[in-house]
């Protein structure tokens, strides 16, 4: 019997599909300032999903740095670099204009991560860029992002799309097991894995790898509750 393997696959979980719907929604609101917000607890796949989407769709992905706290220039210069501006200006206003010129001619989506660690005037800057270019800006962050955005009424009123990344669901576990290893996982067994993971995809992946090792050692593709329990316990013990 051929050994089972766990292939690295990107699974379109409910969160991923919801992000695609959010982006579709932003694209339909063409001609207006368009902002979206993706938030949720750490470890739910927000960054990875956004990077995956940006890579396949040709969007900008930018992570904010603490060192930008005192001035917008670093942020603007990095944005220019990501937009492919050849001669990046050294002052704020020309930088802003250069970024705007690119976005006006090609209003590609811009993902900005960890904006909530910067002062509120950065949000105003992003609002201006979005309003003037009509390019969709999607802000990604953890739970602190919601009050950060709410504090700025003008931004909040322009936040057309919001998405909270939820813990993964049992259906996601079943789909992942099938696509990564070819295993057809019954709902009751997927429930055990889902429960032990607490909705964290990384734990599901770890447990699936353990489960495949166990199945291979037994020379079977029939997954039992006992095998799953051992796989989960092995993962907990490290």
């Amino acid at each position: 019997m051929e050994l089972l393997k766990v292939k690295p696959v990107f699974v379109k979980t409910k969160n991923v599909r919801n992000l695609e719907v959010l982006m579709e929604g932003l694209s339909l609101s063409e001609g207006e300032g368009r902002m979206g917000m993706v938030y949720g607890r750490a470890g739910r796949g927000k960054t990875k999903t956004a990077q995956w989407y940006a890579a396949h769709q040709g969007c900008v992905f930018l992570r904010c740095r603490n060192v930008w706290r005192s001035s917008e220039l670093g942020f603007l210069r990095t944005l220019c670099h990501e937009l492919g501006v050849k001669s990046i200006p050294h002052r704020k206003d020309p930088c802003f204009q250069a970024a705007l010129d690119v976005l006006v001619s090609d209003p590609q989506p811009v993902f900005i991560e960890e904006l909530e660690k910067l002062p509120n005037f950065f949000l105003e800057l992003v609002r201006d860029l979005s309003d003037l270019s009509s390019a969709p800006f999607v802000i990604i962050g953890e739970e602190e992002l919601v009050p950060y955005m709410r504090r700025n009424r003008r931004v909040w009123s322009r936040t057309f799309q919001q998405l909270e990344f939820q813990p993964i669901e049992i259906a996601d576990v079943i789909i992942y097991a099938k696509e990564a290893s070819g295993l057809a996982m019954p709902v009751d067994i997927a429930t055990i894995m889902h429960k032990s993971s607490g909705g964290d995809f990384r734990i599901v992946r770890r447990d699936l790898i353990n489960l495949v090792h166990i199945a291979n050692s037994k020379g079977t593709r029939e997954i039992t509750r006992e095998m799953v329990k051992i796989a989960v316990k092995t993962g907990l013990n490290g």
Partner: protein
Amino acid sequence: MNKPSGESYAVKTMAALAVLVKEKQTAKVREPEVMIEEIAERLFIQTDKQQRSMWSGLSYYTGTGKIIKLRKGVYTMPDKVQQDDSKQLVMWRLLRSRRKVTVTDLREMAAVSRVYASDWLGSLVKRGLVKYINKKYILIKDPGPEMPVDEEKAAKLRETRRLRKKKAIKALDQADKANKEARMAVLAIEIE
């Protein structure tokens, strides 16, 4: 129509079109269109035979769906074929956004094979753009969102094109000389 052989201009036509479409995509042209003149220029089409071979290839591949004829003299490639050529662009974007990746990361997020990802990352290491440390590939030089051109490969291609052009000009000169000799021979007959 018979499938063109590997060495014919027809097959080269398909390859040239793929490269031109990819160049326009890299330049962020959303719907890349390529004119027949651009393909002919890229291939250094010199003779009627080469031109017929190019047309034959375009006709064959349009019939099989690998090339799309947008209108007279203007072609492009279907999205699926473009995607195969733009996997490197997806990997480049992932590397830039994550700053450090493993082969597994690219297999997962770019849906490429282990060998393809490994070879591509290896080429970036050789070019000094990436460093391999602790089983991770770290981006150390970021020229921007456009895929950096492999200068060494580009230089080799330029040299190959230069030599082909030189050979074609030499053939034309010889044809010219033979033409002049034939003309002289004909004029000599008339004088007699």
